[in-house]
Amino acid sequence: MAEARRVMISGSGQGIGRACALAFAQLGARVAVMARTEQSAHTTSAEIRRAGGDATAIWGDLTEPGQPARQTEQALAWLGGLDVLVHNAGWTLTRPFLEDGPDYWRQVIGLNLMAALAITHLALPALIEAEGVMVSVSSDAGRAGMGGEAVYAAAKGGLTAFTKSIAQEVARHGVRANVVSPGLVRTRIIEINQEDARAARVIERIVARNPQRRMAEPEEVAAAVVFLASPAASHITGQVLSVNGGLQMA
């Protein structure tokens, strides 16, 4: 079982991905920080280096052709191998299905699902070589469905099924793959959605319905990612761990 020495995280410029990057770095890992914008990739990697860790910044829009491959190759070259692959890049709007069309679908599925396939396709051999771990940050939207986020739920459901299938394919090579499935997390995406009054009401209702009556902090999701990537989880593979305050059970 590999220690998490070389870690690559998509979407780690902010939110859950940033919290994962900081948590792995704190454990001594070198982290390839992948983010959409140059600025956010540098912000997280600089934060890690200021704390005495080692990180590199890689940026670009993963929905653009060739970007997942370019970024993955860059990350693997800098890391010199791979112990932990975290699929975290994700994005959605909260609005009715009928209000958007194919361009939006392509964007949402491209980022939340296709990017993970493309990255895994290139990174899996390195993960097999290191007997490493893949962790996908999916969503309870993909587990239970979510009005206002139909396309996102479809993509995240796909990501979850993909991760379970990879777990079956590569277990014999000593590679594990699991899913962390957050409910509502206090991230920039939520803040942006809250600026829209209708979306804000949906979010408010979800929080009120939550048994713990609060959102998660990004660090609470990152803790589950770090756990599943650690040797403590060496007998856990192909599973979905929801971090949702009890929003969805069973």
Binding site: G174, A216, A224, A232, A233
Partner: protein, 265 residues
């Protein structure tokens, strides 16, 4: 790897802690700094050994005896714990006992024994210790593969553990506002006395079959399950509640007719 001491100053009560998964949980929680109340039913020597090992780690330990199927014994045990500590942080429900029967062979006394212990004992113990559990508290129940899959002779315990999973969800809902979480760990096949009892003389062959059907290629250990319990007990896991975390090495991912087909690339 240096063990985190994030449970320092917390008390964990582990039922069925003399052997197997319960013993593994008691030792792993102690290794992370928790003080441990070790519950046992019959195996006093084994339980005393766990108490001694917890003590050797520099943690406090208390020995609690009870038949959890007997309400007056649960009450006495909860009172005994409250004399040890006014506060409980982590309750781990690992105790179980059953008869391995086909449904048509189950007799009323079999039902009473397993359900009174696994379901009745859980509800009553939670009720009795809940006043001692504050925000940040954890209820962690050990369920099992027999709730989602039909295993030979496992109907009685599987159905009782199914009830345990449902009760955990209700607890998660009802205690959520107090920031107390409730979750289940669902192990696959774990190398314990119980697994040996289940498989009888065929145990070595059983272990080989389990390893062959398990994605990671081996039977589980109490330490595997305990590591997941420790994570759920940790302060970082405060937003995980009402969940069943499967710790089975991928055993449940494969279907029997396909289990010898290698799907690896």
């Amino acid at each position: 790897m240096e063990q985190s001491q994030e449970l320092r100053g917390k008390w964990a009560l582990v039922t069925g802690a003399s052997r197997g998964i319960g013993a593994g949980c008691a030792l792993a929680l102690a290794a992370r700094g928790a003080d441990i109340a070790v519950h046992y039913h019959r195996q006093r020597d084994a339980a005393e050994q766990i108490v001694a090992e917890v003590g050797a780690m520099g943690r406090r330990a208390a020995l609690l005896q009870a038949d959890l199927a007997q309400p007056q014994e649960v009450t006495a045990m909860a009172e005994a714990f409250q004399r040890v500590s006014p506060q409980l942080d982590v309750l781990v429900l690992a105790a179980a006992a059953t008869a391995f029967k086909r449904v048509e062979e189950i007799r009323p006394h079999h039902l009473a024994k397993t359900y009174n212990l696994v379901v009745g004992g859980m509800v009553q113990l939670v009720q009795e210790v809940l006043p001692s559990i504050g925000p940040g508290g954890r209820v962690i129940a050990i369920s099992g593969q027999g709730t989602d899959f039909t295993l030979p002779g496992y109907a009685l315990l599987g159905s009782a553990k199914g009830a345990m999973e449902v009760l955990v969800r209700y607890l998660a809902r009802e205690l959520g506002g107090r920031q107390i979480t409730a979750n289940c760990i669902s192990p696959g096949v774990v190398d314990t006395d119980s697994a040996r009892f289940y498989a009888q003389d065929t145990y070595p062959e059983f272990v080989a079959r389990v390893a062959a059907a398990t994605a990671v290629g081996r039977i589980g250990t109490a330490a595997d399950v305990a590591a997941a319990v420790c994570f759920l007990a940790s302060p970082q896991a405060g937003y995980i509640t009402g969940q069943v975390l499967v710790v089975d090495g991928g055993l449940g991912l494969s279907s029997l007719p396909f289990m010898n087909q290698d799907t690896s690339p």
